[in-house]
Symmetry: C2
Subunit: 333 residues, 2 copies
Amino acid sequence: MSKPIRVIAYGLGAIGRAAAELVLKKSNMQLVGAVDLNPQYVGQDLGSVLGVGRQLGVKITDKPVVLFAQAQADVVIHCTSSSFVTVYPQLVEIVRAGLHCVTSCEEAMFPRYRNAQLAGELDDLCIKKSCAVVGTGVNPGFVMDTLALALTAACQNLEAVRVLRVVDAATRREALQRKVGVGISEAEFQQLAKDQKIRHVGLSESLVFLADALGWNLAEVDESIAPVIADKRIKTPYFTAQPGSVAGVKQVATGLWNGKEVLRLELQMYAGAANPRDEIVIVGNPPLKLVLDGGTPGDLATPALLVNSLPSLLDARAGLHTMRTLGLPQIAL
Amino acid sequence: MSKPIRVIAYGLGAIGRAAAELVLKKSNMQLVGAVDLNPQYVGQDLGSVLGVGRQLGVKITDKPVVLFAQAQADVVIHCTSSSFVTVYPQLVEIVRAGLHCVTSCEEAMFPRYRNAQLAGELDDLCIKKSCAVVGTGVNPGFVMDTLALALTAACQNLEAVRVLRVVDAATRREALQRKVGVGISEAEFQQLAKDQKIRHVGLSESLVFLADALGWNLAEVDESIAPVIADKRIKTPYFTAQPGSVAGVKQVATGLWNGKEVLRLELQMYAGAANPRDEIVIVGNPPLKLVLDGGTPGDLATPALLVNSLPSLLDARAGLHTMRTLGLPQIAL
């Protein structure tokens, strides 16, 4: 067994905590630091915050740069925000300290799309400091992009890729149900959508990741969001959607190339969704249809993807990566 | 667009011809040579043998070493035999000439399993000559191994992987139907199986590839083969299986680790198989079930995988690769 990977957990929300817990279970990884700005966490032992029933000897700090200088870590698992502009200064601090980083920041899955200049600067800094950074998760990061791309390897030619992810929000955590608007009115939904408060971040990133990999220089990327209206009363452990109110959200991103819709990613997340699944349809030769029955639960799979990417990240060339350049994904041992 | 990849087609059986035809369709690849020992092919233009309706200016030769010295090629697509021992001297000639190589040789998908010493020597030679070699195809090479491994990236832990591939042999080419024994008697089947004349090569290679990647030091690898008996008359374009005769084959490889069956790969190829599909079941957290409806047709997908692996192969470090070390697979542009 090689030397354990020394990990800092940065951001202790639901995903960050789940990733930290998973690190504890991996024989070849070690948690050596934790960062969070929440004053209720700062100074506490990470074990208390994770609720793992034991002290870990890792005190949570709100001073990441000090920690980076002291912890002799290899890599940071970073889970603070969906916005690349927001996380950019945090990522810069991580890389300046000579640390690799995997981030759950959705826009960081393909940061060149919205922030080409910042992405370029981060890439330069990574190369200068011999560090590798990647953004991943289940979505964006795996089921609607990386897995779809891998599937094209079995095709002689390709006309279009369509991915559908259907999540029954009723089976997910409260925060997700709130995020998709379970039980609110259609008017409220429209206002929240307008304010970008109801929105899955990363659908366009997945789409542009695919287009880039497939050499499709898209003329247009379109993304739309609409409520799914409950046609009957739907009760979840946290909310109730009355008939006519919002059960959740349907979000669609499409890409046009040479006048044809070559990419379509559709995400349905609503309470009571029938037949939850991830479905990848390849229009090509041969045509292929992949279904993940029941779908891939993000609460488990996103922490898995973050932690599982660490070995390849440490092995990768320096730079700002995508899941395409990081090698074949697999579970970390 | 970068400089076209200059390709030699080595072995012009069904798969080799299909791969060569696909190279012709790729904008960034160029066929610059062809090797086959069939005296009816030698000296002919490759275009005539492929039946593409035009001359390609590529004369088929039975003298590969001479061709390698003259053709200024980058890479060889090699499709001659299932046996690593048989192809080994051919691969050595290719690498000695400084050429990269992708081979459809099933045992070369994980050659360390049956031929650790030869695999080690080929790896050394690759490094010395700065060449990369990999064995791939749809199976072994993709649906029962690489794709299953990639799927584990979404898991926090893993207890077992089970893959089932069901092929309706009636829809496949004559050679495959003959290979699986459509229409022969059970006694004939048993004799042919005993002589290893009925056998899908590579199932154990897929299994050991997975075990190696997952760090499962298998105590035992078992592989069994049995006929599927027709329960009614099945007529294909080439053969007829009477009730009680053989419709095809069922082959199973299993791997035990710590006393448990952690890996099970099952391949059913018979005429009249209902619900043809590729199915990957991950026993773990989360559990996952992936289905490729209708399955992945090998006649199309194996040439695709060979050709699609060329860009990553040319980009890879020198050595004898597996699909695990070659990066994320995808269609070549």
